[in-house]
Symmetry: C2
Subunit: 384 residues, 2 copies
Amino acid sequence: MKKISLLGSTGSIGVNTLDVVERYPENFQICALSAGSNVELFAQQIRKFKPALAALFDISKIDALKELVADLDVEIVSGQEGAVSAASYSDADLVVSGVVGSAGLLPALAALRAGKNLALANKETLVIAGELVLKEAECTNTKIIPIDSEHSAIFQALNGESPERIKKIILTASGGPFRTFSLKEMENVTVKEALNHPNWSMGAKITIDSSTMMNKGLEYIEAKWLFGVDTNVEVIVHAQSIIHSMIEFVDTSIMAQLGIPDMRVPIAYALTYPDRFVSELPSLDLATMGNLTFEAPDLVRFPCLQLAMDAMEMGQTMPAVLNAANEIAVQAFLDELIPYKDISEIIRMAMHNHRPVELKELQDVLDADLWAREEATKLITVTH
Amino acid sequence: MKKISLLGSTGSIGVNTLDVVERYPENFQICALSAGSNVELFAQQIRKFKPALAALFDISKIDALKELVADLDVEIVSGQEGAVSAASYSDADLVVSGVVGSAGLLPALAALRAGKNLALANKETLVIAGELVLKEAECTNTKIIPIDSEHSAIFQALNGESPERIKKIILTASGGPFRTFSLKEMENVTVKEALNHPNWSMGAKITIDSSTMMNKGLEYIEAKWLFGVDTNVEVIVHAQSIIHSMIEFVDTSIMAQLGIPDMRVPIAYALTYPDRFVSELPSLDLATMGNLTFEAPDLVRFPCLQLAMDAMEMGQTMPAVLNAANEIAVQAFLDELIPYKDISEIIRMAMHNHRPVELKELQDVLDADLWAREEATKLITVTH
């Protein structure tokens, strides 16, 4: 019986993780849960999965939650501190982080510090503080098992092989809903259009990131941290999202992981690793699918991807700035404060105005993150 | 320094193996060579790679060979016995078998009996005597590393995974030169057309087998022996021969091996396994390639594939009969004695007339093989 602490349980990854846990009641048990502010769903999850500890980030809703689960034997904690408690919960064998955004960093670090293996779906943890996170994992001899379908694919392709034999990582990208749009057409994209992802059903923030290909940019940075900063990472557009990513080895042989686009597959893999459990999900049927297509990414139409690669190249606090500016810009677009094409412009300007500093401790990341949020907000206000 | 005994050195696999060996002079050394009857090329290879032992199958040409290498310090042996000597040569760390046809069986068994790991390109070894060969490998605790691109792909996809976690093997097939031909068009196919394989440059026998999909049928049987007779093996037509085969695991996750169609890649993998060496061969460029296509195989137009699956299902000596009848029928087609469509008919009739017996020892295989050759020859004579 593997005991799991699940962070971000009411988000897309969290809900899918609980779906997986429910399918294998003999193998997994939820010992701690954390969520943001969706009190109703969180209360239902607590009732169903009976964690010993439940952490709600949104302190203002803590009383509402307590009332909903008053009849249950569960310890309720709140705020950042509460999330950290759930992340380092002593009983947990594995911590799954499906937290959205940079709020995932502190709990992830806390999990590793507590000696827990970390199944990580939260991109920002590695994007903004890759160096610190890897150092922590090394110190406590803990494993980071990626949940993102692309990084799970790379992790699986590397299984049994020496990382030194990697020639390059080939990160596949769906290209999002605007893959075939012209530059002109992309200028007038609406929130509704951007939220309509062709292959994956995900949260709003990551769906917008998919449409700008910033999602692939963040994954590019994440891949560098997970599989070696000096590893060559190439992005290829593969509209069907069937090949989830590949590794080319030094002998030119490429190992790829394929499957239907369903997050429950990589989530189950992270939970069962190094084993695989029998799944009732449908198999991929390539003969019916007919064909898989590939094309080079267009960095002119998708400047966010280039910005992310540049940020990783510049290093230090630049990826944290890229990430924070993107979060602010995407929210502004969702709030209809800025047009679609300005998302990349806000990030570009924030990066341009930033003086990167060495990333020695957590505070350096938090400072850069805060600076970039303020800078991006200022840029949005000034230019719109 | 890995010492290699190479069987079938003048064939397509042999020549490619020597090409690989030549690229890594620090790592590989040829200690023994065997060939069929191409004395001129064999003499050149002996001169270049300086084996201590050279075995020529064709006894009638032994004097010609001795004359050509008279100035060299090499022991020359001949016949079946000679090939067996090369296969069990004491210095060899690895035996590579690129022998064509059922002539590969005895040397392969000899290699395993001598405790040598066997890099196997010869399909017939497993097709006609899979049970005996696996028993021998188990007794002597030796490894069979497949060289066929499909089985190498499956072997690589399984690397680091438990064979018990295989849901099915997905064997890819190019579909050969007649993939898009109608039944009517296939009736009048010429030898020249059948020898024109779209993706792979190989010997005549295997190229014809590719065109009838008997090659895939033999690989189907081989895959069953290599990866478990009860393992589900599915054939899918993939015209570009880029994905060399796949494994679907119980969790629906599929691992695939991809690359340019060049036999030197799987040969090098078999030689360097479990390591991979840096290769100067070109990398696969999926973006330039654009797309990969898949379709279900048509068992009506390609009856040989169905016959092979049936033979494996029937078991015992039936696969040996399938294989021998196919060898005779293909040669008769190459000699323009029978039309293309009769290849499968000859095999079907030979199988129909055969009473399979249990495969207890080598003689059972040899008897069935001989019976099928005579039967197929008789069928060709009677019906044409």
